[in-house]
């Protein structure tokens, strides 16, 4: 069963991106002002989440249902966003 050595070796490829635990804060322009997210979580992902949250608060105002808090409940992640004077603080918590 020498082939089992092949099976037991660990993959050397690039790591999978773990869903992070932490929070980050955006100013009204969408710039990140503070973050407790691990550095391993790509900045592009953080920007994407931030942009979506800010645009959702904005579009909700335009639809005449202004919101101050958003909670996206995914099977493997909970995203909570609170509006902060045009910006937002966003919490990420994997399940």
């Amino acid at each position: 069963m020498g082939f089992l050595n092949l099976l037991s070796r660990r993959g050397a490829g690039p790591g999978l991106v773990r869903l992070p635990t932490g929070s980050f804060t955006l100013d009204p322009g969408g710039r990140i002002v503070a973050s407790t997210l691990p550095r391993s979580f790509p900045a592009a992902h953080v920007q994407r989440i931030g942009a979506l949250v800010l645009s959702t608060f904005q579009s909700a105002r335009e639809a005449q249902i202004p919101l101050t808090e958003l909670i996206a409940d995914y099977a493997a992640l909970k995203l909570t966003a609170r509006e902060l004077r045009g910006g937002a603080i966003i919490f990420l918590a994997p399940r």
């Binding site: 069963m1 082939f3 089992l4 092949l6 099976l7 037991s8 070796r9 660990r10 993959g11 490829g13 690039p14 790591g15 999978l16 991106v17 773990r18 869903l19 992902h45 994407r48 989440i49 979506l52 645009s55 959702t56 579009s59 909700a60 335009e62 639809a63 005449q64 249902i65 202004p66 919101l67 101050t68 808090e69 958003l70 909670i71 996206a72 409940d73 995914y74 099977a75 493997a76 992640l77 994997p94 399940r95």
Partner: protein, 356 residues
């Protein structure tokens, strides 16, 4: 005509792919084995012909296994999927199961594990690709799973998820001792869980300290639940005057009978059609709901965070909760005085009714 199963193996390691191919060739059902070393190639192969099973690694360059599974679950919902990986991490296991995979295995390290792997794959292939059933270790009916746990004198926790709903059933030495689903507990929760036709299940470790709330035998409970389901099926829709008049009312109005509900809007996913109840400005809200739900679904797919169960918004004028089901979105507006917990509880009842 050949009826051999077709298995697609996806792993970026060429040598490993060959080893797996040899193992799987020895399966009693003698399936045809196809291989791919990149996600793009695997998806192209799946597009080109029907397969019975995809076995995917997780850790791969460019497109990782979770990204591949996200696409595969959407494009080929009937395809059985298994993950075989050396990434030993509970988070990835949870995320893979959240996507609806059938099997999550660590790469085998011993002869016994190889044998177990081969048995599991053969068992997966044996399952008929019906439209119902529960996706978990194997596709079985929920009654089968419960009977198996009881007959094998197991102590375990059976976690069942059905869309945005989740329930748990506790077993102790083969006895069914407790159940819980949303706000329900005990036998009522068990009956609720048993009424679900499809979903995912997972066997979790036993919780010996769990208090017993169910004292009936599992056979009795299964029988009672089956009778209740049969009776529910047999009831004529709108059989009496009251039900008949209710049927004449908008279906959304029946969803709005819960305390605190201010408006209800249902939005079709394909076009700009929507229905609304009691909303003052349904058109802009329906557009916002469709756009917001689509964007958050895409965000979840981008991070492989699993299905978007619910999106909630709290505001100074009203609170909203949104869910998707069968290519439609439902948005319910609640009075701003309702607490977040109450919004969530009420929404779960509304969604149950909407789904039925």
């Amino acid at each position: 005509m050949s009826t051999r199963h077709k298995i697609l193996l996806l792993d970026d390691d060429h040598e490993l792919v060959e080893v797996y191919r040899e193992m799987l060739r020895r399966l009693p059902s003698q399936p045809e084995i196809f291989t791919a070393t990149s996600g793009a190639r695997a998806i192209a192969l799946l597009d080109s012909q029907p397969f019975s099973l995809l076995i995917s690694d997780l850790n791969m360059p460019k497109m990782d296994g979770l990204q591949v599974l996200t696409i595969v679950r959407r494009k080929f919902p009937q395809l059985r999927t298994a993950v075989m990986t050396s990434v030993v991490d509970a988070q990835f296991r949870t995320r893979a199961y959240a996507m609806g995979i059938d099997l999550f295995l660590e790469k085998p390290n011993t002869g016994q594990e190889v044998s177990f792997f081969v048995d599991c794959i053969e068992s997966l292939l044996d399952r008929e690709t019906d439209t119902g059933g529960f996706r978990g270790v194997q596709s079985k009916s929920l009654v089968d799973i419960i009977q198996l746990e009881c007959l094998s004198q197991s102590s375990s926790v059976l976690k069942v998820t059905n869309g945005s709903f989740a329930g748990k059933v506790w077993f102790k030495n083969g006895d069914l001792i407790d159940a819980e689903s949303q706000d329900l507990k005990g036998e009522i929760a068990f009956r609720r869980i048993l009424s679900w036709k499809t979903g995912n299940f997972e066997i979790l470790p036993a919780e010996p300290e769990r208090n017993r709330t169910i004292f009936n035998s599992y056979q009795g409970l299964l029988l009672e639940s089956a009778q209740a389901l049969d009776e529910a099926k047999g009831q004529p829709a709108g059989g009496d005057g009251a039900a008949g008049s209710a049927a004449a009312v908008s279906p959304l109005a029946t969803l709005a009978r819960f305390n605190g509900v201010e408006f209800v809007i249902s939005v079709s996913g394909d076009d700009s059609k929507f229905e609304s109840w009691s909303s003052e400005n349904p058109e802009p809200i329906s557009k916002w709901v469709r756009q917001t739900m689509r964007r958050f679904r895409e965000l979840g797919e981008g991070f492989q965070a699993g299905e978007l169960n619910q999106l909630e918004g709290l505001g100074p004028q009203c609170h909203v909760a949104m869910v998707s089901k069968a290519n439609a979105d439902l948005c319910v507006g609640f009075h701003r005085s309702l607490s977040q917990d109450l919004v969530r509880d009420t929404m779960s009842k509304i969604v149950t009714q909407w789904a039925s």
